[in-house]
């Protein structure tokens, strides 16, 4: 577990040295060309250390998939930097190829992501061939394929190599895709909703596989999801994204046991389980990245702000929520949230800050 460190200092200087993945003030603007441009990712600092599983949670349209694409080198950031092991993601073909060997995708929909006419062997060998790994390592391709399949839990591998996707269950297909990612020997997996299209009983076995890969191979995982239960199941740290920004981040236990941002609180309250929290169902859809509200970007939907004085929000504070731009959450191992209401509460006399300020 990571300890809270006050004054984590400039980006990159974390307790364990440089992180494997670091995003520094990343912005991605999509569209333009006549259409209104969308600030899909609007200033994000995020780090994933070696052997760490970080969940990036939020609703559709919050920018989490765009951010994942940026990490994979499929989307160029408009500004800001993406670094793996201190090396910045470049733009040349050779740089991108080297990058994709270190950073591999586990896609959302295993059925749609596998070519139905190609065998399991072909699906797993593809990455090996692209990155010329057999030639480089002097190992046989079929050994590498078998090793990757067994790592992904498809044992014995020879039972699976000649099969076609249609002959496999949903969970087995997802394992084939994970094997394909593992085959090239990545350091970071980016998993986009890795279990959302799987059956309930399979879900846990795939999540357990991700945990095991972290433990056995020291892999890092950035998992993009709207499912806070998934974060509770596997993530060391959780970052909650809303409309292009990380609004709360920290160790998973701390964020989920004591959510500070009203958005995180609302998201957590609607997770269907046994009714620990009074559900706060936010009205309306996530707003539009082409028209980000001024002030706190969550203010038009914020239940605490809407409750006003009843929730201890005076007029002065409410006016600030509507107009004052919030600073970006700094990269930090501690629990942080971007919310003026929380800051005001923490600073109120006789009310010790429940969350240490790492800024």
């Amino acid at each position: 577990m990571t300890a809270t460190t006050a004054g984590a200092g400039p980006a990159g200087a974390t307790p364990e040295g440089s992180p494997l993945l670091a995003l520094e003030d990343v912005h991605v603007v999509l569209g333009g060309h006549g259409a209104p441009s969308a600030r899909a990712v609007d200033g994000v600092h995020l780090q994933v250390r070696r052997g760490e599983i970080v969940a990036l949670a939020g609703e559709s349209g919050c920018g989490k998939t765009t951010l994942a694409r940026t990490v994979l080198g499929l989307q160029r950031p408009t500004s800001g930097r993406v670094l793996v092991d201190g090396v910045e993601l470049g733009t040349s073909r050779a740089e991108l190829r080297a990058w994709r060997r270190r950073v591999q995708l586990v896609p959302q929909d295993p059925t749609g992501s596998l070519n139905p006419r190609r065998t399991v062997y072909e699906a797993v060998a593809e990455g090996l061939r692209i990155h010329r790994i057999p030639a480089e390592t002097g190992r046989r391709e079929d050994d590498l394929v078998a090793e990757a399949l067994e790592r992904a839990g498809l044992r014995p591998a020879e039972r699976f190599v000649a099969r076609y996707p249609a002959e496999l269950s949903g969970g087995q297909r997802q394992r084939v895709l994970i094997a394909g990612a593992l085959a090239v020997g990545p350091e970071l997996l980016v998993a986009d909703e890795p279990v959302s299209s799987l059956d309930a009983s399979v879900r846990g076995t795939i999540l357990a596989l991700l945990l095991r890969l972290r433990d056995e191979l020291g892999l890092s995982v950035l998992v993009v999801t709207h499912d806070l239960g998934l974060a509770w199941n596997i993530a060391d740290r959780l970052a909650v994204m809303y409309l292009g920004r990380v609004v709360e981040a920290g160790p998973t236990e701390e964020v989920l046991a004591d959510p500070q941002h009203p958005y995180t609180q609302a998201l957590l309250s609607v997770v269907p389980e046994t009714g620990r929290l009074e559900p706060v169902v936010l009205r309306g859809e996530p707003p539009d990245a082409t028209a980000i509200p001024a002030g706190c970007r969550f203010h038009p939907r914020c239940p605490a702000l809407a409750a006003g004085p009843a929730a201890g929000v005076g007029d002065g504070l409410a006016a600030r929520c509507r107009s004052e731009a919030l600073p970006l959450l700094p990269p930090s191992a501690g629990h942080t949230a971007a919310c003026l209401l929380r800051d005001a509460e923490a600073q109120a006399p006789g009310n010790p800050a429940s969350v240490p300020d790492d800024g």
């Binding site: 309930a200 879900r203 509770w232």
Partner: protein, 337 residues
């Protein structure tokens, strides 16, 4: 009052190499104002059951048993009567509804269409007015009648599908995975909407999902299906928090309770795959994946039987009061060895 009563329903598909039983003897009731959940995974027969309620099962499927809607058997009624019953007595919101809307037609016209088809004498003006009312009823501005599906978000399209299901004022709505592709917040909005409709209109709702946490927090009663049969039924909350059948337990454990140290960094899965319906295991069809199965489970096929107040389970190892019949040291009653 009971709206839907399914009795000993069997649905068998004809496969290339013999018959494939999809539903194998299911009993189920839904009353007015009641939300009943049907839980299960791909291939367990739950969607076949949903379509059979309105006789929408694929051609060639052999169906036996009864599906009584207001005491009338859907399976034997004449075609003209069936046509009247669909939409007006019961309607279905199918899975994958997000792709079921016609992309070229305004949503108001799509909501009005069943009224014009099924209620002779309805004028276009009346239907359009009612479509606008229904949109407001499901929480969208009436002005959205003029929208095309691509102009709506996933949650809004799901609301349109629900409005369409309500078009002819049915008393029973069957919703097959209505929130599966949606975000948690939108899922909560849609579930709120559905349960609100049940409360306001006295509808009966059959809610089908693989997510027992959703059903547990929404349904009065839940039935869990495995390999074409109901393996456990009981009050919704109880089934999620205190399931008795080993499969229902695994399904409930798949979605962790946030804050529960038991699920932290330890996701619960169920190894193995559901059985091939064309080649079911002998005895209890769950026994090859069951962690507590005993020798008798390979031979004896348990039927649903009482398992405590208001509950039943189809497991040899669950006693009539719901308590497990094995001790912690694995002592199994003589007759089960």
């Amino acid at each position: 009052m009971t709206l839907l009563q399914v009795e000993d329903l069997h649905v068998t598909y004809r496969g290339g190499e013999g018959d494939v039983p999809a539903v194998r003897g299911v009993d189920l009731t839904v009353a007015e104002g009641e939300v009943v959940g049907l839980a299960g995974e791909s291939g367990c027969g739950k969607s076949t059951l949903a379509s059979t309620v309105l006789r929408l099962q694929p051609a060639g499927a052999r169906v036996t048993g009864k599906v009584l809607l207001d005491d009338e058997d859907v399976l034997t009624m004449r075609w003209g009567r069936l046509r009247a019953v669909r939409w007006a007595a019961a309607s279905v919101v199918f899975q994958g509804a997000l792709h079921s809307l016609n992309p070229l037609q305004r949503v108001g016209d799509q909501i009005a269409e069943p009224m014009l088809l099924h209620e002779p004498g309805t004028t276009r003006g009346t239907a359009a007015r009612r479509a606008a009312d229904l949109l407001e009823r499901v929480g969208l501005p009436a002005s959205r009648v003029r929208a095309y599906p691509h102009q709506l978000s996933g949650g809004q399209r799901q609301r349109v599908m629900i409005a369409m299901a309500l078009a002819c004022s049915p008393r029973l709505v069957v919703a097959d995975e209505p929130t599966t592709a949606l975000d948690v917040m939108v899922q909560a909005q849609v579930l709120d909407l559905l349960t609100g409709l049940v409360a306001d209109l006295g509808l009966g709702l059959l809610l089908i999902s693989h997510d027992l946490s959703v059903l547990g927090s929404t349904c009065d009663r839940v039935a869990v299906m495995y390999a074409g049969r109901i393996v456990e039924t009981g009050p919704g909350r109880d089934l999620f928090t205190d399931a008795r059948h080993p499969y229902a337990k695994a399904l409930a454990a798949a979605f962790p309770t946030i804050g529960d140290p038991g699920g932290r960094l330890s996701p619960a899965g169920l190894p193995g795959d559901p059985p091939d319906p064309a080649a079911l295991p002998t005895g209890c069809s769950f026994h090859p994946r069951c962690t507590v199965a005993v020798a008798a489970c390979e031979r004896r096929d348990p039927l649903l039987r009482p398992a405590g107040p208001g509950r039943s389970a189809a497991c040899l190892l669950v006693g009539e009061d719901g308590s497990p019949l094995t001790g912690t040291d694995g002592d199994v009653p003589e007759e089960l060895r």
